[in-house]
């Protein structure tokens, strides 16, 4: 019974995938209601996961597992503990809201169904990622999110900028995927298990493993690529080419959080070492400041949000680096606060863009009377971002400051945190005040609040960041503390409190951040101008660096292809035959295995054998001496027929039959190729080239002859032929041993061979198709073909 429940629950958690398959149909049939209908899936999962809260909060994680690849000890397991539950609730909750919004956003888009399908599939992949217990399942879902995000970012695939952003995101996060595989395999080697839930016992021992630095290195690269940390931060602002609902979901609440999730999940195993702290605090802190400063330079609302997302992700990485219960609580609080306010702000930016036609913050102003609901929602999200009590953002900030108690109040790290929070606060002020306050800008008079489906989501998200204050203790104990316990690796008994303590340092640090935020906002325009100038001074960026790297790779590939695949058939053949000669003679020389050339070592040929040998030599002689190409091809056929005859004489009728037909077909196909290539009928080449080829041919033939003589000198081992002879009719009901071997005893080999035949034919036919899209290479265009074959 227990297993049945597991199967049922796992199938239920994978429900977004079948829903994605149905989405285009539902979108077509139900019209405007599609978003609401499809949102039932993530909303239902949200409720189902929510029902697990009490059990998880009491310290009993829910484990579900199915055998997947039992031979490799791989299971498809889902583990629901505090951390994965927190992420899963955000993924499903925000997912449902974004689906409703996206349906309204794409109301008249011809590919609305495709978009909804991709979004649902992404929800499924993301949910699988945070719930997966096994590393193999985690990796699979990880890569799935990368592929689906590629499709989502490039949704408007007719725009080059969208395609480029999608490719760039795929390359950067794909690098992270490879890195995850390497790190995961190393983890498996050290811990002897794929299951994350079973790795807990190694928590103290892993840092002493020689593989530890490699594991940390690979997994940090994985997390940093996904979560856009320095030096992989550049893809996220680029990815703003995606439609707004995608940005709201992938780039605020879901995909970019996967890296945070990975680091948080593994932090009990890996944290606490100087390496971990240096990487996470150093680069996370740098990313926090970098993103927060860059955000101030942006005038495009979406770019501004993207840069603050980079900064907020840096903040979480930074807090993970610090470690300890308070910092773990802070990570959980910042994660949920950020997911709520940032997803809301992205959606609201989409509304502003739709209703006013611009996202430029300098062109917006005085919208509070026109977009009243939007303004209220922006204000709710912005206050949380600024960290004003009692909004969720405030708890994140406060917990972060008190987390420094464990580090002995390192001044440098503390300064990073205060400045980062202050700069994010300044961006929040800009987001709330600039578009809505002040005198109305021209051209915005007719902007109105959009329909219900648009604004309900952002308003809900804004309220969610606020209503927790009414259930502060249960919320903290049921959601944040279990997640923090999973991050810290030990029970966390910290409670959320709203009371401000004027004696605590954290209180004054909050005041300082607000003051600094206000100061920066006051000077925002001049700071932006200064940053613009600086940006123009330094033209190089990782973004351009990657472009240069990629175009360099393509040029290198082209150069290598030109070098190796030059298209000169003679040189190909000379290379192949020459290497054959070298390897055969070299091998014989290495082992000094020259065959003994005794007279009479080979028994004298019989008369029929002599006859066929003469025929073969005559055929070869004709090939060499033939003046016209067509004659040479037919002469080659003569030589091939002689070979077939030799097989027949030596008692291999099957081989002989096949050889015969192959020769006939070779001549026919070669003749067809000759007609098609439209070569001159006569083949004139300089004597030097003929001589070179003759030398290569003779040396290779000599080498093969010596090899064969050497092989024949060894006594013949008849075990296999005896076996086949004895069992062909008995086991396989056939008297033709060759055929029985082909179709029965060695059937798998044959299956491989016909696969090769099939693939080769597909490739050849594809090459022969008259090309429509690829322009002919100049060389081929130069000698335009003249009509040759006149078919009836």
């Amino acid at each position: 019974m227990a297993l049945d429940f597991d199967v049922f629950a796992i199938l239920l958690l994978l429900a977004p995938f079948p829903a994605a398959l149905l989405a285009p149909l539902i979108a077509r049939e139900t019209g405007a209601a599609a978003g609401w209908i499809l949102a039932i899936v993530p909303a239902g999962l949200f409720l189902m996961l929510g029902a697990m809260l009490p059990s998880v909060a009491s310290g009993k994680p829910v484990l579900l597992a199915l055998d997947w690849v039992p031979a490799l000890d791989v299971r498809l397991g889902f583990a629901v503990d505090g951390l994965s539950l927190l992420f899963a609730l955000v993924i499903t909750g925000v997912g449902a809201i974004v689906l409703v919004y996206a349906d309204a956003y794409f109301r008249d888009h011809p590919q609305r169904g495709r978009f909804l399908a991709l979004m649902l599939a992404f929800i499924g992949a993301m949910l699988g990622l945070v719930l997966a217990d096994g590393l193999v399942a985690l990796f699979t879902f990880w890569e799935l999110t990368a592929v689906i995000s590629f499709l989502l970012i490039g949704f408007d695939h007719e725009r080059p900028a969208a395609r480029r952003a999608a490719t760039q995101a795929l390359i950067v996060t794909g690098l992270g995927g490879l890195s995850l595989m390497a790190g995961g395999v190393l983890l498996r080697l050290v811990t002897q298990t794929w299951d994350l839930s079973a790795m807990g016992g190694f928590a103290g021992a892993l840092p002493f493993s020689p593989a530890y630095p490699w594991i940390v290195g690979f997994l940090v690269v994985t997390a940093f690529t996904k979560s856009a940390q320095l030096p992989f931060h550049f893809w996220l602002p680029r990815a703003m080419e995606a439609p707004t609902p995608v940005s709201a979901y992938l780039h605020a609440a879901a995909m970019v959080q996967a890296g945070i999730y990975l680091l948080a999940r593994l932090s009990p195993l890996l944290s606490g070492t100087p390496l971990w702290q240096a990487l996470l605090c150093g680069l996370g802190g740098a990313t926090l400041l970098w993103g927060a400063v860059r955000a101030l330079a942006q005038t495009d609302l979406k770019q501004l949000l993207a840069q603050t997302t980079v900064a907020a992700l840096g903040l979480m990485v930074f807090l993970l680096g610090i470690g300890g219960p308070s910092a773990a609580m802070a990570v959980a609080a910042v994660f949920i606060a950020h997911a709520l306010y940032k997803a809301g702000l992205f959606l609201l930016t989409g509304i502003i863009d739709k209703q006013t036609g611009t996202r430029d913050i300098t062109a917006l102003g005085g919208l509070r009377d026109h977009l009243t609901i939007t303004f209220i929602a922006v204000a709710l999200a912005g206050l949380s971002m600024l960290g004003v009590p009692p909004f969720m953002g405030w708890f994140g900030k406060e917990l972060g400051y008190s987390g420094f108690a464990t580090t002995g109040w390192s001044i440098g790290l503390l300064a990073i945190l205060v400045i980062g929070n202050a700069l994010l606060g300044a961006s929040a002020l800009a987001l709330v005040i600039r578009p809505f306050m002040g005198p109305p800008k021209p051209g915005l008079d007719r902007a109105r609040d959009p329909s219900f489906a648009f604004w309900i989501g952002p308003v809900l998200l804004g309220l969610a960041g606020f209503v927790v204050v009414f259930a502060l203790t249960p919320f903290g104990d049921a959601m944040l503390a279990p997640a923090a316990a999973a991050i810290a690796g030990r029970p966390v008994s910290q409670h959320l409190e709203l009371a401000a303590n004027p004696l605590a340092l954290a209180f004054w640090l909050s005041i300082a951040s607000w003051a600094l935020a206000g100061l920066v906002y006051w000077q925002l325009d001049s700071i932006r101008e200064m940053l613009r100038l600086l940006e123009q001074r330094f033209s190089w960026s990782m973004d351009k660096g990657l472009d240069a790297l990629l175009s360099g790779l393509i040029r290198l590939g082209a150069a290598l292809s030109r070098l190796l695949q030059h298209g000169r058939l003679e040189t190909y053949l000379a290379t192949i035959v020459g290497i054959l000669a070298l390897s055969v003679l070299g091998a014989l020389w290495r082992v000094s295995a020259w065959p003994a050339l005794r007279s009479g070592a080979l028994s004298g040929p019989s008369l029929p054998e002599w006859g066929t040998l003469v025929l073969a030599v005559v055929g070869i002689g004709m090939v060499v001496l033939a003046r016209s190409r067509l004659a040479a091809i037919f002469a080659l056929g003569v030589q091939g027929l002689a070979l077939a005859l030799i097989f027949l004489v030596l008692g291999a009728p099957d081989l002989s039959l096949t050889q015969l037909i192959v020769e006939v077909l070779t001549v026919a196909i070669l003749a067809l190729i000759m007609i098609r290539l439209d070569l001159a009928p006569l083949d004139r080449r300089p004597p030097l080239s003929v001589g070179r080829d003759a030398v290569i041919a003779v040396v290779a033939a000599g080498g093969v002859t010596l090899l064969l003589m050497r092989v024949l000198a060894a006594p013949f081992n008849a075990r296999l032929s005896d076996f086949f002879e004895a069992n062909s009719a008995a086991l396989a009901h056939g008297r033709n041993i060759v055929n029985v071997i082909l179709v029965d005893f060695r059937g798998l080999d044959t299956l491989g061979e016909i696969t090769v035949v099939f693939a080769a034919a597909i490739a050849a036919v594809a090459l022969l198709r008259p090309s429509r899209t690829i322009a002919p290479v100049p060389a081929a265009a130069a000698d335009a073909p003249t009509p040759q074959e006149v078919a009836p």
């Binding site: 007609i675 009901h733 033709n736 179709v743 299956l751 016909i754 034919a761 022969l768 078919a791």
Partner: protein, 135 residues
């Protein structure tokens, strides 16, 4: 290549080659021959016909794209191999009717025949078709 004699004889030759190819295929288990040789002979039949009357004529006769025939052949070969796992034995285990005249290896051989025939014919027709296009 398209003389009157050749054009008139090509269908006869083609049919004869086709019959031979089937004999070679079906007799292959006990006498020289089998799917490979049979498929090649059948391809020769198609090529003879294509040389005489053009590749379009062959395509009309076949009705199915040659590469499609090859694909069906591959499918037959794989399915005949899957009859093993379907009955709880390893992949490609030969299963025989009780009297032992026909079994899954025979089916496998038919798959080989179709792959070889389809692949070689597809290649030859593509070459021939281009010669036509130039005229």
């Amino acid at each position: 290549m398209s003389t009157l004699i050749f054009r008139s004889m090509a269908p006869v030759l083609g049919v004869a080659l086709m019959v031979v190819s089937l004999l070679v295929l079906l007799g292959g288990h006990n006498a020289p021959g089998g799917g490979f040789a049979g498929g090649l002979i059948a391809a020769a039949a198609a090529i003879v016909y294509a040389m005489a009357r053009g590749s379009e004529a062959v395509r009309r006769l076949l009705r199915i794209e040659p590469l499609g025939i090859a694909g069906v052949g591959g499918l037959i070969a794989v399915l005949s191999g899957l009859s093993g796992p379907a009955t709880g034995r390893p992949f490609l285990t030969g299963l025989w009717l009780p009297i032992g005249v026909f079994g899954t290896p025979g089916l496998f051989d038919i798959g080989i025949y179709l792959v070889v025939f389809g692949a070689v014919t597809g290649l030859a027709l593509a070459l021939e078709a281009d010669g036509e296009g130039a005229s």
